[in-house]
Subunit: 154 residues, 2 copies
DNA sequence: CATTGACTTAAAGCTCACTTGAACTTGTAG
DNA sequence: CTACAAGTTCAAGTGAGCTTTAAGTCAATG
């Protein structure tokens, strides 16, 4: 069995488009060797890297953040299972936080919108202290306005 | 108390930037009347609409989808609590699905990356049948490759 | 009357994560 | 040798969801 794979082999095995792989390499998330022809040759372990990237994206991480995380892997050897485990350990917290956020969201779906009241004072769902929402573009989250008479019900 | 609010009043109460409110109006998610001066006057109930929009976005819905949902509200009267409840009822399923997805993700975090195996055959996490990931740009999800020798471990 | 502040519009700009296109080279099969 | 597939680079395009900018209007204040 070959020790390295072409870009399309990696693409098929990972489900990540070849163009995305080139983009990831450009962004420093993965690296490749080159064949004499100039074609990329990926070592097998980039697949695990790609799995990590895919996971991380599902958790809402940006590519830059993901790269920072990957940079923490040891550079003196191909990462072992333990290396990966260490890297992804703190993520369970992140996932738990997202689950909790969704559970609040679920509760608020009935309580907060459903009831027709939507009092900002009592709404524990639409508040800005949670991190599920993106920064940058997109609504910043429901902000409590202490000057408001009594929520939005008026 | 005023029955209508200016764009900045709405912005402060909702936490949605004025520019975003104009954008939403342009996209047909909210509507406003106009004062003689040409300034927007928002009826109070757009706040509830904005709450709904904020919720929906947290669930990963696109503005076009959200608009379609909002279009299902009755147009012959200002939506009641029941109207809103009906609209958001089916969302609990959506939230539950997302929670389940995250729980699989959490499990896979240890099993799948942590173990250092990442066998595509056994990985129930990185598979494309789930809907948490976006369509369009972004990785399409880990795709099972039946021709692969034995996962990525090689 | 000048200024300030809140608002308006249209158009352009931005971020993120890619994708697409054009022009080109390399490797393999017939 | 000719085809053709698979790879390359660089630049530009895409889509979502806004934000920013420029230029202007309107009402109230000093």
């Amino acid at each position: 069995m070959e020790t390295t794979l072409t870009i399309n082999q990696i693409s098929r095995r990972s489900g990540v488009a070849a163009s995305a792989l080139r983009y990831y390499e450009e962004r420093g998330l993965i690296t490749s060797e080159r064949a004499g022809s100039g074609h990329r040759r990926f070592p097998r372990h980039v697949l695990r890297r790609l799995a990590f990237i895919t996971f991380a994206q599902k958790l809402g991480m940006k590519l830059d953040e993901i790269r920072s995380e990957l940079d923490r892997l040891p550079s003196d050897h191909v990462p072992t299972g333990d290396d990966w485990a260490a890297l992804s350990e703190k993520w369970t917290d992140r996932v738990d936080a997202q689950i909790a956020q969704l559970q609040r969201l679920r509760a608020g779906l009935t309580d907060c919108i459903g009831c027709g009241c939507l009092s900002l004072k009592s709404c524990k769902v639409l508040n800005p202290s949670d991190a599920l929402g993106r920064k940058g573009p997109g609504p910043r989250g429901w902000v409590e306005d202490l000057d408001a008479p009594s929520g939005v019900c008026g």
